[in-house]
Each structure stands twice: as structure tokens, then as C-alpha cells.
């Protein structure tokens, strides 16, 4: 009995850590898709870029873990600004088809560049000693790195929630999501807001990608593999809601992770079936505003 409880707790803990990685990646996409109405299939590519830059900063440049991670996230966020200015601005008012094609194109190019630069085999990072140990919570031991991920995820959630609900910038973004023309009429510079939000979303993707390296491994395929899962989280959670993305990440992450342990071959199949049912019953997502 004690053994079963121990296993259940550790599966749940791993599932929550996995959920937090999904959340960090998904929330950026949820906000950009909700605000800009752009189907950004290149979001996975930004996450992948975050992962590879972290590998470079830690491995090749020998930076310590935390500064390397932060630098990678900032670099991707900064790099996304010219990409938004040159490519994305041209598809904001175009049909969904064009948005899908352009962002798939960007993803494929990113995968090719990553394969060329880093090779097709999985890469890893060296975690610092303080994340290699176990931490005791409620008298049980848990891997410190997973606890760290959960901490980062919860912090990101709280910061985003507070930023959205309690700051002027958040209010402007919410206004632009609800009614862009009206927000512009009220004096909000939505063009600059779009750029800023896009950079924030890309930086969050990079953070998720960087955190995921030690959890699920990093290959150039990462950009597509996790894109589908992240899109699912976004559509289940509803566009543009931070709470929705958080709840949907927890749901998908915990179920998917538990399935992997209990029924290794069939879990992914099961999760997608659940997603279809949810979307058929509630097209706006479980937590969306219809």
C-alpha cells in the first residue's frame, strides 16, 4: 500500500513538473494567438531555439546555469522582434491559410538550421549540483530539478496573472484582445503592444524549451513534436486566458504523464481522443469565453 502511494505521488509530481513546462510554452502562444489572432505554428521553433541557446551558453561558453538560462530567454525574446517586424506584420490581416503556411515555413527553416548547426541527435545540458539532488517535501524526497521547474512555472503563472490583471500594460493588452479598434481609438498603440507581446510570448516559449531539455530531451524535431501538444493545451484552455492555459496544462500534463507510466504504448492516443471530445462539446475550450 505504501509502495503504491509512493508511486502515485511521484507520478503526480513528475506530471506537474511536465505540466509546468507545457504551461510556460503554451501561455505565450495563448496570449499571442488571442491578442493578434495569428496562428503561430512557429512557436515550437522559438521554444527549440531557447533549448539550443541554453545548450550553447552552458556547454560551449561555460556559463553557470541560471545566467545561461536567463540569457537564452532574453536572446530569443530580442531576436523575435525583428522577425515580427519583417514577417509577422505582413500576415496579421491575411487569411488563416497564409498564417499557417508562413509559420510552418519558418518552423521548417528553424529545424533545418538547428540540424545543420547541432546535428540530429539528442543533446543534454549539465545541471548544477544544487539541482541534481533531492529535496524533501512533506517527508518525501523529490528530484530537485523537477521541483525547480514547478517553482518556475508557478512563479511565471503568478507574475503573468498579476501583470495582466494588475498593471496598465496588462489592461491595455486585455483591451486590445477584446476590441482592437476600440483600444486604438482610446489611444493604445497596438502596433507596439503587438511587438511587445510577441517578444514576451517568444521569450516564454524559449523558457519552456530550455526547461524541457533535461526533462524530455532536445532534438531539432522538438519544434514540431511539442507544437501539437502546446496547441492542444491552448485550444483546450481557450485563447488569451492565463488561468485557462494553466488549468489545461495541468490537466493534459498530468494525464499524459500518468498514461506514459501506466500504459506506455497507448497514452498519446488516449489524450488526443479526449481532446477531440472536449473540442466537439466545447469549441471555445474548457475555460474560454465561448
Amino acid at each position: 500500500m505504501e509502495h503504491a502511494v509512493q508511486a502515485a505521488v511521484s507520478i503526480l509530481f513528475d506530471g506537474i513538473a511536465y505540466s509546468m513546462v507545457l504551461f510556460v510554452m503554451a501561455v505565450g502562444l495563448s496570449v499571442t494567438m488571442g491578442l493578434m489572432g495569428v496562428i503561430n505554428l512557429a512557436h515550437g521553433a522559438f521554444a527549440m531555439a531557447g533549448g539550443y541557446l541554453t545548450v550553447t551558453f552552458l556547454g560551449n561558453l561555460g556559463l553557470p546555469f541560471l545566467p545561461g538560462l536567463v540569457l537564452a530567454v532574453l536572446a530569443v525574446g530580442a531576436a523575435s522582434i525583428p522577425i515580427e517586424h519583417t514577417l509577422y506584420v505582413r500576415i496579421y490581416n491575411r487569411p488563416h491559410l497564409d498564417q499557417v503556411l508562413l509559420t510552418i515555413g519558418v518552423t521548417l527553416m528553424a529545424i533545418a538550421v538547428a540540424t545543420y548547426a547541432y546535428g540530429p541527435s539528442p543533446l543534454s545540458i549539465k545541471l548544477p549540483a544544487f539541482l541534481e539532488t533531492q529535496v524533501g517535501v512533506f517527508g518525501r524526497d523529490f528530484p530537485a530539478y523537477r521541483a525547480f521547474i514547478i517553482g518556475v512555472g508557478v512563479l511565471a503563472f503568478l507574475a503573468l496573472w498579476a501583470g495582466f490583471e494588475r498593471t496598465m500594460l496588462g489592461a491595455k493588452i486585455r483591451a486590445a484582445v477584446d476590441n482592437r479598434a476600440m483600444a486604438e481609438a482610446a489611444g493604445v498603440n497596438t502596433t507596439r503592444l503587438f511587438t511587445l507581446t510577441f517578444a514576451l510570448g517568444s521569450a516564454l516559449a524559449a523558457l519552456g524549451g530550455a526547461l524541457a531539455v533535461d526533462l524530455v530531451g532536445l532534438t531539432p524535431r522538438f519544434a514540431l513534436q511539442y507544437l501539437v501538444l502546446v496547441l492542444i493545451v491552448v485550444s483546450i484552455g481557450g485563447f488569451g486566458t492565463i488561468m485557462g492555459a494553466f488549468a489545461a496544462s495541468l490537466m493534459i500534463g498530468v494525464i499524459d504523464n500518468a498514461g506514459r507510466y501506466l500504459y506506455p504504448e497507448g497514452s498519446a492516443f488516449f489524450i488526443y481522443l479526449v481532446v477531440i471530445l472536449v473540442l466537439v462539446v466545447r469549441p471555445g475550450g474548457l475555460f474560454g469565453r465561448a
Binding site: L101, G105, T107, T115, Y116, A268, F269, V280
Partner: protein, 339 residues
């Protein structure tokens, strides 16, 4: 009394509309050129027949997508689902059930795929935009994972071995060079093309264009939107399934790759490259895409992946109506008449 005058106006309007439809829909002589060239390929270049057959299969797959995307305006990220169903049906028939006759295998592939298309279409096509996009993606991913879970049957990542196809009509033996396969695929492609062409010029095809352009107005005049879209989706699924069946039969080997997201993205690229809503765009796009893939992938698969990505970006930014659309515009600029 204005009646005679309005009758005359109506007649005039009818003749203008008639001329427009004829110019748009009637077969032109130049079209025969395409099919004659296609027929000449295995005679002139028999060593490229096997590759040519794969190009024709891609053409058929892209045609099926053009019917739902180009005509009915349904954006899907999961069209490989139907290609894959067709491929696995005809592959499994031979490999597991010992049914090696090709034509019945192909009919089975098309029928099962059509049935699956009808069911999923009826369920999904009531949604629009992002939800529909996500649902098509989720359906194809579900099938992909199902094939992975059920790898005892499908062979999973290692592939389905042991597909053997009997001679066509019991007469035409399969050859190493792939000339028989080429002729077989070309015949099926032509049949499907003619059928799809009939659908696109029928009132049903016109209704699909109407739904694409303005769904609300079509609903207002009483068109059964879900019914029309589901029928179009079913037809496209059948054709995609036949393309998948041909793929399994000519390669004698398939892997889960037939159901992958990459394949859905590839067929979308092919169609956009050629141009949507004109059938020949699918054919032309497949030719250019496959030739470029063959050439670039020989240098390095990485170059090819980068090339496709760049191609998509360039097309979206510079010529959203594809290569044939670009050709039309160039011709119009030099005083020719655009379609």
C-alpha cells in the same frame, strides 16, 4: 410595361453568365498536352518511371486537398489522415489478409477512407477557423498514435512488411523499373481527375465555391452547409485514400510516416505552390515540389527542409495564388487574357 425589357436584360445576363462559366469550366486543348506529356514520360525516360509514379501519386493527393481547400475553403492540417487510412487499408489487405488483387484493394482503400471522411467530416465541419484547424490536427494525430499503439498490426516505426500485389487485371506484371506502376497510377489519376472536374463544374461545385466565399449568404439562401461540406470532404477523403492505396501498392512498404503531420504539411505546400482552386495547380505544384525535393535531398536533406520552409515564406509573401496564379498575372501584364 417593363416586362419585355427585363426579360431581355435577363437573357443578356444569362448569356454573359453562360459565357463566363464556359470560359472558366470548359476543357481546353492545352490540357490534352499535359496528359500526353505524362503518357510520354515512361516511353521517353523509362529509367525515371518509378520516380514519375511517385510524382503522380503526390498529384492525386494534392488534387484531393484542392477539392476541400481550394473549392470548399476548408483549411485542414490533417489531410494525411485519409492518405494514411488508404495506405494501411490496401497494405493490410495484402500483408495480413492475403488479398493481393490491386484494383479491389484500391477500391477498398477509397471506400474505407471515404467512410472515415464522412464520419469525421460530419462531426468536425460544423466548426470553423481555429477550432476546425485544431480538430483536423487532432484527428490525424490520433490516427498516428493509434498506428503507433497498434504496432503489432501496423509495424509501427519499422513499417508494414510483406505487401505483395498481383498483376493488374491478372495480365500486367509489375516490373523493377516501375513502368507498369506508372501506367497504373496515371490511369487512376486521370479517372479521379475527370471525376473531380465533373464535381467542380456541377451546381454542387458552384455551391462549394459559394460556401467558401460567403458561408452566411449561402445559409441565407437555404443551402445545406454541413451536408455540402461533408460530401466534399468525403469525396476528398476517398481520393486521398486512393492516393494512399496507390502509394502502398507501388512501394510494397509503408511506415507510420503516411499519417504524419509532415505529410499533411507537404501536401499543403504542394497545393499552395501550384495554386489553389484550379486542379491543375495541384498537378503542377506536385511536379515542381517532387523534382525540387529529389534534387535538393540528394545534396542534403537539411537543404531540402530549409528550401521548403523558404519556399513557403516566399510564396505567402510574394505570390499567394501560386505559380499558376503568377503565370496568369504575368500573362495579363503582357496583354493576354487571365482566367
Amino acid at each position: 410595361m417593363a416586362a419585355p425589357e427585363s426579360t431581355a436584360a435577363a437573357a443578356r445576363a444569362r448569356s454573359v453568365a453562360d459565357a463566363f462559366l464556359r470560359r472558366r469550366d470548359d476543357a481546353r486543348l492545352v490540357e490534352a498536352g499535359f496528359w500526353l506529356v505524362a503518357l510520354a514520360v515512361p516511353i521517353a525516360l523509362p529509367e525515371h518511371a518509378a520516380f514519375g509514379g511517385q510524382v503522380l501519386i503526390m498529384m492525386l493527393f494534392a488534387l484531393s486537398l484542392d477539392f476541400v481547400l481550394g473549392y470548399a475553403g476548408v483549411l485542414t492540417l490533417g489531410h494525411a489522415a485519409y492518405f494514411g487510412v488508404g495506405a494501411y487499408v490496401s497494405g493490410l489487405l495484402s500483408a495480413k489478409l492475403g488479398w493481393h488483387e490491386p484494383l479491389s484493394g484500391l477500391v477498398a482503400a477509397g471506400a474505407v477512407s471515404a467512410a472515415f471522411g464522412a464520419l469525421s467530416g460530419w462531426l468536425l465541419l460544423r466548426y470553423r477557423d481555429l477550432t476546425l484547424l485544431m480538430l483536423t490536427l487532432a484527428v490525424s494525430t490520433t490516427l498516428f498514435e493509434l498506428a503507433n499503439t497498434w504496432s503489432s498490426l501496423t509495424g509501427g516505426y519499422d513499417g508494414l512488411m510483406g505487401i505483395q500485389i498481383a498483376p493488374i487485371f491478372g495480365v500486367f506484371e509489375w516490373d523493377i523499373a516501375g513502368v507498369t506502376g506508372y501506367g497504373y497510377v496515371l490511369a487512376v489519376l486521370l479517372l479521379c481527375f475527370v471525376a473531380l472536374r465533373r464535381f467542380t463544374v456541377s451546381p454542387f461545385g458552384q455551391a462549394l465555391r459559394g460556401i467558401r466565399e460567403n458561408t452566411l449568404r449561402m445559409r441565407a439562401i437555404g443551402a445545406p452547409i454541413l451536408g455540402h461540406l461533408t460530401l466534399a470532404y468525403t469525396i476528398a477523403a476517398a481520393v486521398a485514400g486512393i492516393a494512399g492505396g496507390l502509394f502502398a501498392q507501388t512501394n510494397n512498404f509503408i511506415t507510420m510516416d503516411v499519417l504524419s503531420f509532415e505529410r499533411s504539411a507537404a501536401v499543403l505546400t504542394v497545393l499552395i505552390l501550384g495554386g489553389t482552386g484550379r486542379l491543375y495547380g495541384a498537378l503542377f505544384g506536385a511536379l515542381v515540389y517532387m523534382l525540387a525535393a529529389d534534387w535538393l535531398a540528394k545534396l542534403s536533406p537539411v537543404y531540402w527542409e530549409f528550401g521548403v520552409g523558404l519556399l513557403l515564406v516566399v510564396i505567402v509573401l510574394l505570390c499567394p495564388d501560386g505559380l499558376l496564379g503568377l503565370y496568369d498575372r504575368v500573362r495579363a501584364a503582357f496583354g493576354g487574357r487571365a482566367r
